[in-house]
Structure formats: structure tokens, C-alpha cells
Amino acid sequence: MKQVVEALAGLGGVRVALLALRDGVPVACAGPDAHLADELGALSASLALELERAAAEQSIAPPRRAWIAASRGTAALELRGDWLLVALVDTGAPLEQLSPALEAAASRLSRAGRRQEPPPALPGGAGREAAREIG
């Protein structure tokens, strides 16, 4: 996870890249402004919640990605099931390479998350029978 975030922070103009849980707790953070991790995590989680609520009100799917461009920088947020990937970028930095990099980072994190998940339990003790057969 740290490697994914570090790769993102290595892109030109990225001030900080952060992976946080949906409640805003930072998991991994890298970049020159890494001290912002707590603040960025909390604000991103709150923003994600607001955006999802607003999407529900409009009867559309929740956003997968958000770009917030302001006068002193841009924030890119990848909003996935249990986590948030956030990158803060300087004004004037090229954003073309950030979009595929975010996508790639999100895919890697999703794959890593799936590998770590325990296999789902089968109903009615079928899991135990299957395990016995395999054993």
C-alpha cells in the first residue's frame, strides 16, 4: 500500500498522496506535505460522504472519482468501497498523467484488498463439507 501511495506522490506536482479508510483514518501517506495526512483524511471522508448523499438525492450512482480544482491547487479523490485515495496537486501541474496513475493505483489497491479478504462462508455448512472433500 505504501508503495502505491509513494508512486503516486512521485508524480510531478503532487504535494501529498494519501490512502485513508472511509472514516478518514490515514493508512499510508507520502509526499512533501505528508504532515497534512490527518487533516486531509478527515476532510476527504467528510467530502465523500456529502458527495454520496448529494448523488443519492439526485437519484444517480455515487461518484467514483472527484476532481476539486481551486486557485491554489487541485485535489483528486478516488472513492472506492472501504477506502479513499487522495492526491493534492499544485496549480499548473499537468493533470493528464494523474488520472491514469490514480486509476492504476486504485486497481492495485483493489487487487491487494481482494487477496487479503477471507473466502466467503458457504451457507448450511457446505463450506465444511467442501473443506473436508478438499482435505
Binding site: E50, I60, A69, A70
Partner: protein
Amino acid sequence: MKHILRRVLAAGRVRELERALAASPTADAYAELAQEHARRGDLPAALEVAREGAGAHRADERLCRLVERSTALVREERLRELARQLQAAPRDALRAEHCALLLESGRVDRALEAAAEWERHGGGAEARLREAEARLRRYAEGRRRDDARRALAALDAAAAELPLDPRPWRARAELCAKVGAWAEARAAVGRLLELAPGDAALEARHRTLGALAVGSKGLDAALREVELGGRFSDEVVEAVADESDSAALPQLLARAGAEPGVRAACVLRGATALLQGEKGASAERAARGLRDSLSASRAFARKLGLGALREVRLDHDDCTTALECGELGSAALRIDGAPGAEHKALLRELARAACAKQVRP
């Protein structure tokens, strides 16, 4: 030998371009001469020619760009030289110029660091004034209360050390008037009048502020209001778009709604939302949802110190919501898939119309 030959040839080329410019002072002739100076590495000469050309041909974008680029390059060169000089023999005048150039180039954080370093090395009131200047710049961009308070603290410290200097009081008066804390602004102008008794302009300002100060909010309340609303007290009258834009708003919305791929188009201004593409209760919900997304994004940008919100793009599974924000209003488009160049142009046009002086229904 090769280097000398190249310089002689370049000098010949400059003379040739100067003669061409004298014969026909067109924008192209100015631009070519400025570029030749820049190629030779003579940036001050390039800037001088570009400025002269931009003065003579005000509408020429190429010359304006050359002026901007040359100014930035000259500034960068001076900054590099200053960094060298400060390492070798630091002194107050160099530090002051360093801070001023950093601020001019928009590097507010770096200017703050330079001012802090100067203060550590005995910069005193001048260093605090530079710090206040940088913090005020940051406040103007981000409008966070904390920046304004720190700027005011630096100004107070500078004023205590320089009791006869009007600069801290002038900056304080400007800040207070900007946020609408008229009573504090009046007090600061009163202090300026003590330093320059009889100044007609200051007296007039003092009278105006006196009239405004009756029942005005305190500094803390004014700062809070600016942080929440994102608008200074003097920005309401500074609408820039022309009225023809606002008159075209209904037609623009209809055009946006008819554009292929556009699901809904919306203009938000104050408590009013004009929406094309949805009807009845779903229109109300859509407008409310867009407004909520906008205010959440604005709060996020401001709290993170990213400054005023400009654009928001939300990628959903099957559509994209794009919002563009102006000083007085915002515009939004919901599009199938990713927005194309025509959608971006349309959104910009809608946002400009939303910021017009008067929105006619």
C-alpha cells in the same frame, strides 16, 4: 572562437531586426526582436522591447505573453542571484527584496519561510511586515480566518516596534474594510490620521467609515462570515461579466439542454437555481443535490487552504457531473460519459452568464 563568432553573428541579427522595426513597427517586428534578445540571453533587453511593443499594440496576445514570460525569467534570474548573495553576505535590503520577489511570483509559502528566517536573524519589524504581507496574500486567496488573525498579529507586533510607521495601520485598515469590519477599519484610519493629521483623503475615508460603522459587525464575526461565504464585502459590486450574457441565460440553458449527451444543465446563483433537463420534484432534488455538492467541495477546498473553488468534476458510473464556479454564481452540466471540448465551452459560457451583473429570468 566558435562562441565569439556566434555572438558577432547574433549581434548582426539584432541590428538587422532593429532596423526592420524602425522601418515598420509592427507587433511581429517587436516580437521577433524581443525573441532574438532572449535567444542571446539578454533578458532585460527582451523585456524592454516586449513592453514597448505591448504598449504600442495592446491587443496583441503574443507580445503580452512575451512580456509575462520575460518578466518571470528576469525575476527568476534575480531570485537565483539573491539566493547566492544571501548565502555569501546576508543583509536586510537583500532579504526584503527576496521576500518581495517571492510574493510577486506567487510563492507565498516560500515568502513566509524567507520572512521567518529573516526574523530569526534579527529582521525585527520589517520582517514582521513581510510576514503580514504574505499572510494577507494567503488570506485573500484562501479566506481562512486563521491566516487573517496571524496577519493581524504580525501587523500589531510591527506597529509596536514602529509606532510612527503608517504601513501596519494601512494594511490593517484595508483588511478590516475588505471583510466589512467597519468599526475596526475606522479605528485604524483614525490612527493613520494621528500620524498624518489633515490628510484630506484619510479624513474623507474616516467619515465614510464612520457612517458605515454604525451597527456593523465585529472583526471576528466579519472574518467568520467571509470564511463561510467566501466573499469579501467589496466583491458584490465587482461583477465582471456584461449584461448581455445574463440576458442570454434562458437561451443558453435551452441550448445546453439540447446538446447531445447533456442530461441536465443548471445555473445556481444565490438561492435561485435554473434547471434544464429535469422537471417537477426531480428538478428540485437535482438542484438541491448540485448545490450540496458545490458547497461541500467549496468547504473542502477552503479548509485545506486550496483557495477559491474553480471547478468540480464528479465521475459517476454512467455519467459525469461538471461544475464551474464564479464569484457570483455557478453552472453545472450532467453529461453521458466524459465531457468533451464542446461541453467544457458550454459550461464556461453558462458560468459566465451565471456571474453576470443582473440575471434576467
